[in-house]
Amino acid sequence: MDPSSAKPRCSVPKPCNHLADYKLKYGLAGYDSLQDNFVTGSNGKTIVCTPDRKIPRCFFCDGYRERLYLCLVCSSVSCLDHTLLHSRSDCGNDIAVDVKRSELYCGKCHDQVYDADFDTAVVSKYKKDLIVCRNAFESIGERSSKRRRLSSAIDLDLKKWKELPCIRDQRAKSCYPIGLRGLNNLGNTCFMNSVLQALLHAPPLRNYFLSGRHNRETCPRRSLDGFCLLCDIDIIFSAMFSGDRSPYSPAQFLYSWWQHSANLASYTQQDAHEFFISLLDGIHEKENKLRDTNKDAGDCPCIAHRVFSGLLRSDVTCLTCGFTSTTYDPFMDISLHLDSSHCLSTETTNKGSKLNGSTSISTSTLIGCLDLFTKPEKLGSDQKLHCQNCQEKQDSSKQLSIGRLPLALCLQVKRFEHSFIRKTSRKIDWHLQFPFSLDMSPYLSSSIIRKRLGNRMISFDGDESDVSAEYEIFAVVTHSGMLESGHYVTYLRLRNQWYKCDDAWITEVDEATVRASQCYMTFYVQKMLYHKANEEIGCAPTSSRRDSLMSVVGYC
């Protein structure tokens, strides 16, 4: 958790000499005196209002049409020309505030300048309202969960690496990453196989099970219900990481899962995402049942939550008065609508010819989808919400942001479209570009709130700056075919090499194949955990294995 390795999201620029001199002389007095005059609208923009609410005019020429500046030293208002004159003639009166935009202006530099203290003063009144309406969950849950998250990440280190049998047989291919093994299709179960492959190689989850954290011998759940989903997952981990490379049949697991999710138990084609959620839900339920608690997702210690759960923040802003109410909800994954603004409608028909030679193809991107997800959305007039400030129903806008990032992040792309006219659903086959390295910091609540308030340099309660928001992709679940009948395949990224897991078939593929694939669920893990995992899945876990490695190295 090295803070210096995390790229600072916002760099505070060095003040010009004039600003520095002003601050030395006057400190924060000038900013503070303006605090009551700042008025922040529902669009996040702040203006400086004159005390008597009159239209500001230039002291020197009485002009009101041009940009007007309020001098921080003598409080006179002047237009741009006179501000510059003012700065030249009255020495030291260099710093002024653009009254329409609440931005600092230096008359000597002829430029807009920035100061974090000023920004803090600008939003201080607005922020006070913001703090008041936060619900209790955040203050209690966020602080303790942050502590727990930090420690849980450390706990999930691979403490006790289980001894792996050394197989000298040619088929063992022990130079390939450990745990790479096919899964037999048990009859329309590729939806299950694809998700299992991704989970088997999610570093925090993998480490949990391989460290023997779930002890099958002493598991009480077995006696309770006769089956335990975690035990069966542990069995899969043991089998997959045993060194045996022949495809494994997750039959016991299927049986277990069907007992848990009775409504999904059928030999029909199913959705991988639904299975993923059902599985995590099953793990969570078992944990709760055992500990006889009913913990909220925010502080649940079950492995599913510790690895995948994050917090989503929703801000609803009244468009009349700007009052914002905030709520937090946990998430296990994020479902994204496809960003359709760029997409070419002819894409599915003209695959070859359209793409030849053209350099600037607009395409849907995962970043675009995330932008769409965190964009302020004006709620329809039929969705007016009650504003506490106005005491009546008003038009509002809603904006989502990430309150807390998980260790492993699953992003699902909604590839289905339901037409109410035709009463049918169809699959959206657009290609979606997704990055291998993903920086989630622009989607954090702190960044989104800052952006909404005009990118002010303000500190934020529960700032995520000490936790890295940088992720690396480790698995992609892709779907090909139609809505009712198709096929799932998972691409795994181990030690920076991509492998295709198509049920029993494991093959090596290059990056381009993965980039060109049609992603449905993308799995990212925190960058540090990814690099650590790469070290751990090397050819031989201990030095004593070196001689066995030498004997098979010729077959790599």
């Binding site: 807009q112 590729c190 299927l254 959705d271 989502l400 005009g454 990118n455 381009a512």
Partner: protein, 178 residues
């Protein structure tokens, strides 16, 4: 920076033209101010990286679309990286943990469905009797971890098939392999 026109339009038109000019100027300065701040604070997105990503993505798709690339996508495999081959229907044999019979892996799911009484026909049969399976997976309950903001209905699913073989429902009386 208002446009001064010395034309002979009516005073009203001139006035509205002035106001429009002022509004336009104001909006332009708004955007300039925002961009200036973004640039000075280092908040602008790295466009070069994004363009590079898009370029790689496009190149990859061109390659994949090229028919001469017999390629990895969905073509027939010869051997996997471990040197193994696998049949279209998995032929590992093991015992069903519900009834104890020996079942072939690739036919395990349809067998288990009937065996556990989960299939459509079996469910109809069971509905006539008094027992109803308790639905343990429920969305929206306090213990549920499914995020409430996404509206997933039963139609929002991507279904899968088995490897290369059209998914056929075997629950019409075909006997399983011993």
């Amino acid at each position: 920076m208002s446009a001064s026109r010395e034309d002979n339009t009516s005073p009203d038109a001139q006035l509205s033209s002035h106001f429009f000019g002022d509004l336009l100027d104001s909006i332009i300065v708004d955007i300039a101010s925002e961009c200036h701040r973004i640039a000075k604070l280092g908040l602008d997105r790295n466009l070069e990286d994004e363009e590079e990503e898009l370029r790689r993505s496009t190149q990859a798709r061109v390659r994949a679309a090229d028919p001469s690339n017999s390629g990895e996508t969905n073509s027939k495999y010869v051997v996997d990286i471990f040197g193994q081959t696998h049949p279209a229907v998995a032929n590992e044999i093991f015992d069903c943990m519900n009834c104890g019979r020996s079942i072939m892996a690739g036919r395990f799911a349809p067998h288990l469905e009937k065996c556990m009484g989960k299939g459509r026909k079996a469910r109809l049969k069971a509905a006539r009797s008094s027992t109803t399976a308790q639905n343990r997976y429920s969305r929206g309950s306090p213990a549920s971890t499914y995020s409430p903001y996404s509206n997933s209905t039963s139609t929002n699913r991507l279904s899968n098939g088995s490897t290369g073989v059209a998914g056929e429902d075997l629950s019409n009386g075909t006997s399983e392999e011993p």
